[in-house]
Amino acid sequence: MRPGSIESLRAIQGAIADALTPEIKSLYAQEAAQAVTMMVESLAAELDTAVADLTRDNDTLRRLLNHAAGVLRPAGESNAAAATVVNEIEETLAGPAAAELTITATTQENDRLRSALASLLEYVEDQQGEPDGERLAAVRNEAYRYLRVLALSGWSFFDVSGFRERIVQARAEQPE
């Protein structure tokens, strides 16, 4: 068996840590080496499941946006801002799914869907405290629940500094 992507990334990390960093005298270069090591760590945490994660994300986003469009559509008959959001969601959902199972193609689809989600959330936040706000509570909760899962994913240097205890707690609270 040859070393796969993850093993190769670990080899890069190992070389930086064992062979290169001890030879570096400049503090600035040491910081750069540390940044590379951490960047490799973050890539290694995502690489193996990247396409599967993005595909699952895209499915979730499509369901979420479809539900949101259904909730917003009646408001869109009398509210131009709601109608604009519904149109954007409908156009996005009518667009093609990723043609290939590559990181690039699934990311492009993800970006389109997240762009519609951003417009939706802007509208939802604008409605807080307004008559329409309560009707949108389920959509709001669903969207933020999804974004929370995403915000907890992967590896970040914050996990070993300011967010250390918060991440442990948040992951323990996360539903299976």
Binding site: S26, L27, Y28, Q30, E31, A32, A35, V36, M38, M39, S42, D111, R114, S115, L117, A118, L121, E122, V124, E125, D126, Q128, G129, R140, N141, A143, Y144, L147, R148, L150, A151, L152, S153, G154, S156, F157, F158, D159, V160, S161, G162, F163, R164, E165, R166, I167, A170
Partner: protein, 338 residues
């Protein structure tokens, strides 16, 4: 060679008879918005040998943030005589032909540490942590007590009304996110809308806001004394709670627990700050400003990421940090209570 260019510059500036000797030049890590270089310079003055440590802050090839170099220089120069510990500022040069890019020179404060890892985890600082914490709160209070009108700094621009302080910062950082993002940002866009719906009570008075006041941006001496407050490049007139919140946001709680700046309990920070500033901490306002602070930090990271992707910098750090906005989003969602 950079040493030679610095030497030529200093020789002319100091009117030295012989070329100024520049030694031990090295780039200090961090300071992504300006390159920070340290060196020793020696020359003869009135027949006597003079040696001095310098810091040069030079514009980078690309930055985490576009900021006015006059702002930082003029404000640091103005607050120093008023007892705020900052390095003495020497010269600001906009002529890029001198040392490749615009730069400023300032005093190097020796024997101190800025790195949060050192200040918080090096055993030599353990016995003085409470002392550092107290000064951290006290100096912030003193900055907010300064009469900025007396500073007479045009570079600070027109002061906002207290009612507009928060809105202006929301507008500013929302614009940065819109301009610099390379991908859609649903959390940040929602957060800016949330902020507009949840603007804080206006402050009683507009103060000089440091805008990057945190562990990592001060020089601590092992004696427990803070001898320099650094990185004033985002300073502006605004709401004092902006600084209180920024100092307290999770990314700067380096020890990974709830201690503000890795230094002290939040209630102690508030108490010491209130004693020093005479300004009551508005906890609801702090919550708003923490949302803004995390969004602002994300905006700064995104700016670095765009600079890297567009080839304006080869800095590994800029490429790396832009991959770390998710945790800031988590914190924003927590603070929004959603």
């Amino acid at each position: 060679m950079l040493e030679e260019r610095i030497s030529a510059y200093l020789t002319a500036k100091l009117n030295a008879a012989e070329p100024v000797l520049v030694e031990n030049l090295f780039r200090i890590p961090g300071g992504q918005s300006r390159e920070t270089w340290s060196f020793d310079a020696s020359w003869a003055e009135d027949g006597s040998a003079v040696s001095r440590g310098f810091i040069m802050r030079r514009d980078p090839d690309a930055s985490l943030l576009e900021s006015d170099r006059h702002l930082e220089f003029d404000v640091m120069d103005a607050v120093r005589p008023l007892g705020i510990p900052v390095p003495q500022m020497y010269w600001l040069e906009e002529d890029a032909s001198l040392i490749e890019r615009p730069f400023c020179m300032m005093e190097r404060i020796d024997g101190c540490q800025a790195s949060p890892t050192t200040v918080l985890m090096d055993p030599q600082f353990f016995p003085v942590r409470n002392q550092i914490a107290a000064q951290f709160a006290d100096i912030l209070g003193r900055i907010h007590r300064l009469d900025w009108r007396e500073l007479g700094l045009k570079v600070l621009g027109t002061p906002p009304s207290p009612e507009r302080c928060a809105e202006l910062e929301v507008e500013r950082w929302e614009e940065v996110v819109a301009k610099e993002s390379l991908e859609p940002q649903p959390v940040l866009r929602a957060a800016f809308r949330w902020m507009r719906k949840n603007l804080p009570r206006p402050p009683h008075e507009v103060v000089l806001v440091h805008a990057d006041y945190r562990t990592g941006n001060f020089l601590a001496h092992p004696s427990g004394e803070i001898r320099g407050i650094l990185d004033w490049e985002m300073t502006h007139l605004g709401d004092p709670m902006e600084d209180v919140a920024w100092a307290a946001i999770r990314p700067w709680r380096w020890l990974g627990n709830e201690m503000v700046g890795g230094l002290m309990e939040r209630r102690d920070f508030y108490r010491m700050y209130e004693e020093s500033s005479g300004i009551a901490v508005d906890e609801e306002a702090v919550r708003f400003w923490e949302v803004l602070g995390n969004a602002k930090l994300a905006a700064i990271f995104l700016t670095g990421g765009r600079s890297y992707c567009e080839g304006r910098t080869r800095s590994t750090m800029m490429a790396f940090i832009a991959r770390n906005t998710r945790r800031l989003e988590l914190e924003i969602l927590d603070l929004m209570g959603v």
